[in-house]
Amino acid sequence: MTKAILFDASKCTGCRACQIACKSWNERTYTHTWCDGTYENPLELTSQCWMRILFNEPEEVGSWDELWWHFTKYQCMHCTEATCVKVCPSGATAKHKVSEEDKEAYVVMTDPDKCIGCNYCVATCPFSACRYDAKEKGIFRCRLCFDRITQSPEAFQQGGLHKPLSDFEKLLEDPANEAWLRNKPACVSTCTSGALSFGDRDEMVRKAEERVVKLGGKARIYGRDELGGLHYIYVLEDEPETYGLPADPTVPAGVTLWEALIKPGAPWGGIGLVGLAAAAGLSYVIARRNQGLEGKEG
């Protein structure tokens, strides 16, 4: 049993309360922004901005009836086939269980103490959702509010957030806070329009499927099967591209090679086989990383 967040785009009003709640709970600071001609801001995910709402609209429309304005909650998707976990050379990025009952680990987090700052995950993420912060020396992204949804104090600290455990316990002392705080990520707690819900992944998938049937037309589910199943399930009313989501996110072929052959501790790495394919994998990862860094600096 794993948990997931369901984002029903048909109900999202783009109010961005989730974006602010994420900042508030995770104690992310302000970053300088400016309007670049859209409603979107910040323009990129950063170590200080773990989720943001994308505002998508059509370039040209034939008639008024074809107009749309799609809002997308965008952050780490907690992929089952997580590229970042595959490429991580130090084992810092790993999937975690939320409770003992979980059959598998699924919350992707990076342990700042183990992270060596190689940026491989940043370079290869199919959703471009990992960010490295040189100052705080770590990879930052959505943690599915691991500290809120878990019941165990250890897990709270394992989240890697430098927040004293007492904060959390103090909040829970007041029974009034129990209902909204416990078991729900900050974004879900704050959503006013009912676009976000959180629960067992199977339940979220079922709910999404029902909603898709109700909406009809071009409505579809996204995240159920992609990359072995995401832990963000989307209900979309149109093609994923109209929401700024990749139609078919995949683990790059190069990454698979890298994981199998070169990555320290890889099954074939010990043999010392450095073949053409392996070289291709290495060059892919490094090239992507450099590209990414250049992109950032430019």
């Binding site: 009003t13 783009g14 922004t33 040209e60 107009l67 799609h70 329009s193």
Partner: protein, 949 residues
């Protein structure tokens, strides 16, 4: 709102027009979602922009800013043409079957109704003698005449259920008696004639809504909600009201709602979405010039004495509920000047009330004009930021320049506090003395808040205000205490007793909320006294009203006795000075705690102030991060707050809705002539054959006031002086008004162009609202005004070819001071932007993200271009037989020049601020307003646009 937020869940069709609730009322949106999910409700959005609300709409249409009456008139005409009329409702509950007097007319060639008085404006614009209905006895105005628009059960009085419909239950199949000899004189016939010009083709010409799109909307709204059991819901906000025809726009839709039978229904009504959490409370308490608390008219110099004032509401002259007004006024006077009432009588206390000049307008625009003229020398603004939020902000700042002194009370360092160093002026040139008083925010003070649902809650202080900030009550107290001392010392002060005699003997509390006894107070130094505050609970007692205690020994005894004598309803208020109540509509709000057997409070819905929220001691508070336990648990009846018997979201035990905890106004209209609810699942009141069974508090005479006997439904439907619209003050019957003489510009709403318009009025010969004031001193050279600097662009101006409009975004709030100082919100929406269509951008060579300058006759403002498909050029009539393509330029009005995110300055590399020049969208808007309320015309004006190179 006639209905309330949670009631949105009961709607079948929503019309969102002049509002953007997804953006500006995000928490309320969940009820719309609920209606869509559970009832399959349809959502129609009509707006100059494809907004966040539009993104959720089933049907969306653009509309040219400033043309809503043409659109609504089109809907009225469409409903009449298709017979989408809820006939039983219209015949029984509205004034449609009444007869209009001879002499009433409307002339499309001049655009004027009968009675127009050349050169006059506002209330004097028309002689309203012909805006009347016919009576048996015209001299005494008794025995109003009716006719049967349709055949009904009682063909003597022309009331009852329809009898001639071919499909019972479907009003569309009611034959209309157009051949009846009296038909042509009926209000309905006049309405039909008036709106016959508003064809779908005309709507297209005026509003730019294509004919097919208009018909799609009209079918969905009129066709979807005219059936008795269906509810159509209008959600509107400033997009409708902020106009020279603001009041008439709301009237136009009210007329449509009456025709479709949507008013008084759960899920229906006319719903003003308030933009501020307590703006309803502020109007209830008369933070307006024309009323005193509880919507009683502010006395003018014509109402010289109490008898004259009261005679206007005598039962000989009016009907409905307002005949009780003398009781409300007497209780108010007793509350304010108890000693004067006791010693000299109510009439003497009335004399102390300031009387305004009845012909003078004291609203925002004329006040600033008076400052500009040097008539007003000093200004106190409280939680207001006119340098950003005021119309024609350049003019309003120039008016502030002329003041001797200015006091600003606000949470933040606002633009208006800093008007003397706004971009473009030299501080040394401005002589105004400016004082800034830091105020406490809503969570830093205790008091009541009343929202759009008329729902009032009392909130206890959650945290201490920072620094020197103080609560509003503290500031008022300090001001009044000092004023009293000054008046006491000056025996020649004008209207002295109004100040010296004003009751101010409130209980005092210290900084920790602990009561200060009289002995302690007497020992206190002036400095210590300054740290105390009035006990806000005393004010709540005054709101709820109380039997005035006698034989009182000192202040403590007075308040003890007042509390034991609190009233349970405003019906207990007396006109003899024996009761006190500072606002009758809240009468009964502070009632007893006596309980019924089932644990509910006896005065169901009244007791919202039971102090279950105990302030913890300061010692405890220090230990507890949250300071005050149970701050949200003060609701009056914890066991029942979620109780919602019929499942309509009425939640009668949650907080208190004035009046008398009534959740849906005009709820008699939710049931048919015989008192049977139109829809079984929407039952508010129903007649069981012997008495009324109520889920909501009846808004009609359900029981005889004297005997308590149940009033049968036929009487409360349209009996003499017992109509379903109880607050109407007409003596004959309280009916929904399709035809009225209460507005200044006409008995039916008519389309007039905004003062700045790209075209001639295609609908009639008057370009602008004939009753609106178009010339203020600021634009009159004879009075020192400058029309080139503060005036208007001409019709169809080539210098200003585009239509400018302003709006808000969800990330910021009003004039911005509360949100532009919060870094996370500023990060999300950092600066001034200007939305334009891709077509206009192409024409002007503007790309997304370019810096552009928008200019009106009155000013310039810069912003970042947001080039979008969500705006489209509209094709409309040019008023001369041709057509014209018009572009809309949209601007947010939140930004200014102070705070963390000023928003409007010029930028350098990487968005770095390099200069502060223009700052607020309202530097562009005109100084002109509605002909009844003078609400400024913010939403439609003319601009030019250029790219800043």
């Amino acid at each position: 709102m006639t209905n309330h937020w949670a009631d949105l869940r009961n709607a079948d069709v929503f019309m969102v027009c002049g509002a953007n609730p997804t953006e500006n009322h995000p928490c309320a949106w969940k009820w719309v979602e609920k209606a869509r999910e559970e009832r399959g409700a349809k959502l129609i959005v009509v707006d100059p922009r494809f907004t966040r609300s539009a993104s959720k709409a089933d049907i969306f249409s653009f509309i040219r800013p400033g043309t809503d009456i043409a659109f609504f008139g089109g809907l009225i005409n469409y409903a009449i043409q298709k017979n989408y009329i809820q006939w039983e409702y219209v015949q029984n509950y509205t004034n449609a079957p009444l007869l209009v007097v001879d002499g009433y007319s409307f002339d499309p060639a001049t655009g004027k109704f009968s009675g127009y008085q050349e050169g006059k404006t506002m209330g004097a614009a028309y002689n309203k003698d012909t805006w009347m209905v016919q009576y048996k006895d015209q001299a005494t105005k008794t025995g109003v005449l009716r006719m049967p628009l349709i055949d009904v059960e009682d063909m003597t009085n022309f009331r009852g259920k329809p009898t001639a419909w071919t499909t019972p239950g479907d009003p569309k199949t009611c034959p209309v008696n157009r051949e009846h000899p009296l038909y042509s004189q009926s209000v309905f016939a006049k309405l039909e004639e008036h709106y016959s010009r508003y064809t779908p083709e005309m709507v297209e010409k005026v509003c730019g809504i294509p004919r097919e799109k208009f018909i799609e909307i009209a079918e969905a709204y009129c066709g979807g909600t005219y059936k008795p059991e269906k509810s159509g819901n209008l959600m509107y906000a400033m997009g409708l009201t902020q106009s020279t025809v603001g009041v008439e726009r709301i009237r136009a839709f009210s007329v449509l709602q009456l025709l479709l039978g949507n008013t008084g229904m759960p899920g229906g009504g006319i719903n003003a979405l308030r933009g501020e959490s307590n703006v309803q409370g502020s109007t209830d308490f008369a933070v307006l010039y024309h009323i005193i608390p509880g919507y009683m008219p502010c006395p003018t110099s014509k109402e010289k004495d109490l008898d004259t004032y009261n005679s206007a509401s005598s039962p000989e002259k009016i009907g409905g509920f307002w005949v009780n007004r003398p009781k409300f006024l007497a209780s108010l006077l007793k509350c304010w000047w108890p000693k004067v009432v006791e010693e000299k009588g109510l009439a003497a206390a009335y004399d102390l009330l300031p009387k305004r000049d009845g012909a003078k307008d004291y609203s925002h625009i004329p006040l600033f004009e008076d400052m500009f003229q040097g008539v007003i020398k000093g200004l106190i603004s409280w939680g207001q930021n006119p340098a950003v939020g005021g119309p024609n902000a350049n003019l309003e700042c120039a008016a502030l320049d002329k003041l001797d002194w200015y006091v600003a009370i606000d949470l933040w360092d606002t633009e208006t506090m800093n008007f003397w160093r706004r971009p473009g002026v030299e501080p040394r040139d401005i002589k105004t003395k400016v004082f800034a008083l830091p105020a406490a925010s809503s969570i830093e003070k205790s008091g009541s808040v009343t929202n759009s649902s008329r729902l009032s809650q009392f909130r206890w202080k959650a945290v201490e205000p920072p620094g020197e900030a103080e609560s509003d009550l503290w500031i008022v107290d300090q001001l009044m205490t000092r004023l009293k001392a000054l008046y006491e010392a000056d025996s020649s002060a004008p209207n002295r007793e109004a100040i010296t005699g004003l009751f101010w003997d409130y209980t005092r509390v210290d900084e920790h909320g602990k009561k200060v006894s009289v002995e302690e107070w007497e020992k206190m130094s002036p400095e210590e006294r300054m740290k105390t505050e009035i006990d806000v609970d005393d004010i709540a007692v005054e709101m709820g009203g109380f039997n005035y205690p006698e034989d009182v020994k000192g202040s403590e005894d007075f308040w003890k006795k007042a509390r034991s004598g609190v009233l349970t309803t405003f019906a207990n208020l007396k006109d003899n000075g024996k009761t006190a109540c500072c606002n009758w509509i809240y009468g009964g709000i502070y009632a007893s705690t006596a309980k019924n057997d089932d644990g509910t409070y006896k005065d169901a819905g009244m007791k919202y102030l039971v102090n279950t929220a105990k302030l913890v001691s300061s010692e405890e508070a220090e230990k507890d991060e949250f300071r005050y336990k149970g701050k949200w648990q003060f609701q009056f009846d914890p066991q029942n707050i979620y109780k919602d018997q019929p499942g309509l979201g009425l939640n009668p035990y949650w907080a208190y809705a004035w009046p008398v905890n009534r959740r849906i106004i005009y709820n008699r209209c939710s049931a048919d002539y015989h008192g049977v609810p139109w829809a079984k699942d929407k039952a508010l009141v129903s007649w069981n054959g012997e008495k009324w069974v109520n889920n909501d508090v009846p808004d009609f005479a359900a029981a005889d006031a004297a005997t308590g006997a149940a009033v049968p439904p036929e009487d409360s439907a349209s009996g003499v002086n017992k109509g379903p619209f109880l607050m109407m003050d007409w003596k004959e019957s309280q009916l929904g008004l399709l035809f009225t003489n209460k507005t200044n510009e006409g008995p039916f709403p008519e389309h007039y162009e905004p003062v700045e318009s790209p075209v001639k009025n295609p609908l009639n010969g008057a370009q602008n609202n004939p009753a609106a004031v178009l010339k203020y001193p600021s634009t009159d050279p004879e009075k020192g005004g400058d029309p080139d600097k503060y005036g208007f662009a001409e019709v169809g101006s080539n210098d200003y070819p585009y239509i400018g409009t302003t709006y808000r975004v969800t990330e910021h709030w009003q004039a911005g001071q509360m949100t532009r100082n919060l870094s996370w919100l500023g990060e999300a929406m950092p600066e001034m932007f200007v939305e334009i269509s891709r077509e206009l951008a192409k024409e002007k060579g503007i790309k997304q993200g370019d810096l552009v300058e928008v200019e009106s006759k009155r000013g310039k403002v810069q912003g970042v271009a947001v080039v979008t498909s969500r705006l489209k050029p509209l094709t409309i009539s040019d008023g001369n037989g041709g057509s014209k393509k018009v572009h809309v330029v949209g601007m947010v009005w939140h930004y200014g020049f102070t705070g963390l995110f000023p928003g409007g300055p010029e930028r350098g590399e990487q968005g770095k601020i390099v200069a502060k020049r223009s700052y607020a969208a309202n530097q562009l808007t005109p100084h002109v307003g509605d002909a009844n309320t003078t609400i400024p015309e913010y939403k439609a004006f003319l601009v030019n646009l250029r790219k800043v190179s």
